[in-house]
Symmetry: C2
Subunit: 281 residues, 2 copies
């Protein structure tokens, strides 16, 4: 029931789905109860009662915690039940969790999300999905009801969508860092960087990443909210870990890590990850 879990739940409720919800801090689920959701006392209770369980947590450790063990999703889903895992995690974790579900005769699919909370509310999310094809087909209408504008299928290997998601988040933080450097260079060189940004985003870089994040950098406004810098740093760590295990050099990710680390030391962990620009100051 975080920044993305909440609007996705609201979207599903709006479409008439009966939802049993759980959040570690029960108070955060309260507004959803008023919209028709039912509060569960535990993850175990959600898993026992549901055909499909959506999960979205902030890291691999939290996902393992709610999935594994006697009280976890895998052990308590009914046979044939489906765990739709939306968290951004290491691809190897998806492979391991799928195996545990298979032992319990249930299913695990990867469905990490591209999109910020405002996109979730506008039903403009993109889901990257991978895993057993028939299970993906079962899940797709629910993803649509949850706010998907696009569902991108990456095949049977359950970790493929997680790789695609890490590659995508890496692209975003790389784009933000480059824009931060360019705008800082332009400002310090005395040009009208708002005009430069307008030119760039009407020509070669006419895309949402450059328009939205560029405007934040131009205004030097990185208020808390959106996507927290500390979570961005977590994703960069996953990218570096995946790079290492795949044997792919990721020098730009190393650079992003360095800049984000510097921001953490400036106490910017809860600011939007666009605050990576502050490492240049």
């Amino acid at each position: 029931m975080g920044n993305l879990g909440t609007p996705i739940t609201e979207n599903l409720l709006q479409k008439g789905h009966a939802l049993l919800v759980y959040n570690r801090t029960a108070a955060k689920a309260q507004p959803l109860l008023e919209k028709g959701a039912t509060l569960a006392a535990s993850v175990k209770q959600v898993a026992e009662a549901s055909d499909m369980v959506f999960s979205i947590v902030s890291d691999d450790g939290a996902l393992n915690q709610i999935t594994l063990g006697a009280d976890g999703i895998a052990a308590n889903l009914k046979p044939g039940g489906v765990h739709i895992s939306m968290s951004t995690i290491l691809p190897a974790t998806a492979t391991q969790l799928q195996a545990v579900h298979q032992q319990h005769k249930s299913h695990y699919i990867a469905a990490p999300i591209m999109g910020r909370p405002e996109a979730a509310r506008a039903r403009k999310l993109n889901f990257l999905v991978s895993g057993e094809a028939p299970v993906i087909q079962l899940a797709k209408p629910l993803l649509t009801d949850g706010g998907a504008a696009g569902i991108w299928e990456f095949g049977n290997e359950v970790n493929a969508a997680n790789v695609a998601k890490l590659c995508s988040n890496f692209m975003i933080i790389s784009a933000i860092e480059a824009m931060a450097e360019a705008i800082n260079l332009g400002n310090k060189s005395g040009i009208d960087t708002a005009k430069w940004h307008a030119m760039l985003t009407q020509t070669l870089f006419a895309s949402p990443v450059y328009i939205n994040y560029g405007n934040m950098i131009l205004k030097d406004a990185y208020a808390p909210g959106g996507f927290a810098l500390r979570l961005g740093l977590k994703d960069v760590h996953l990218v570096l870990q995946q790079g290492e295990s795949a044997g792919a050099p990721m020098p730009t990710a190393e650079l992003a890590k360095k800049q984000l680390d510097a921001c953490m030391q400036q106490g910017l962990g809860e600011h939007d990850w666009t605050a990576i620009a502050m490492a240049l100051k």
Copy 2:
């Protein structure tokens, strides 16, 4: 009369302009003579005979060479004549050359170009311009006839367009490097990177840079032509020089320099600058 000079000249000829052309290697101008241009024996002869002189050369040294001295453009333009300088150069060079033109009662404006040869032929170039406003107004119809789809004005400071151009080229090489790392990571992790690229360029990164250069990286095809890697490296040097003089840290440009240097050592200087991807192999 290089990759961009040739199609721009052809565009101007098509629009009915009388052109006197000069190229260090006269043979390269030959096809243009057949299309109606007149060959000059020297830069001096071009300057003496013309109201407006376009120049496009590969670096600051070459521009200084054709502009300064007794045989240069500045000393030989008639009073009130205009030098439209399209090269990608250090901003400080533009300021210096404008001053020399002013001593000779002629004008110098900066008009660096965003666009590859195929964009020039399709009349889809973007010119970034700066300098004296009335002179810019005089030059604009010629830029349009030369193939401008967009003319972006950065004000009276003559070096502003050069700063904007360096910031833009920096953005492109940063985007290429990030895509190269992500596609390599995706490939080595076993995902369908063509599908990933399709997803990315239909959502957050739906823009020409990611579509065009991404396709080159997916195909691992960096044939000579387009924009030579050695020229990209030259631009990155300019970005780093500008960063240093403006007091703006450019860690991503330093990284790009390192990767491009590695490519130069692999003998890829004449390949397209997308070949920066080869530094990861």
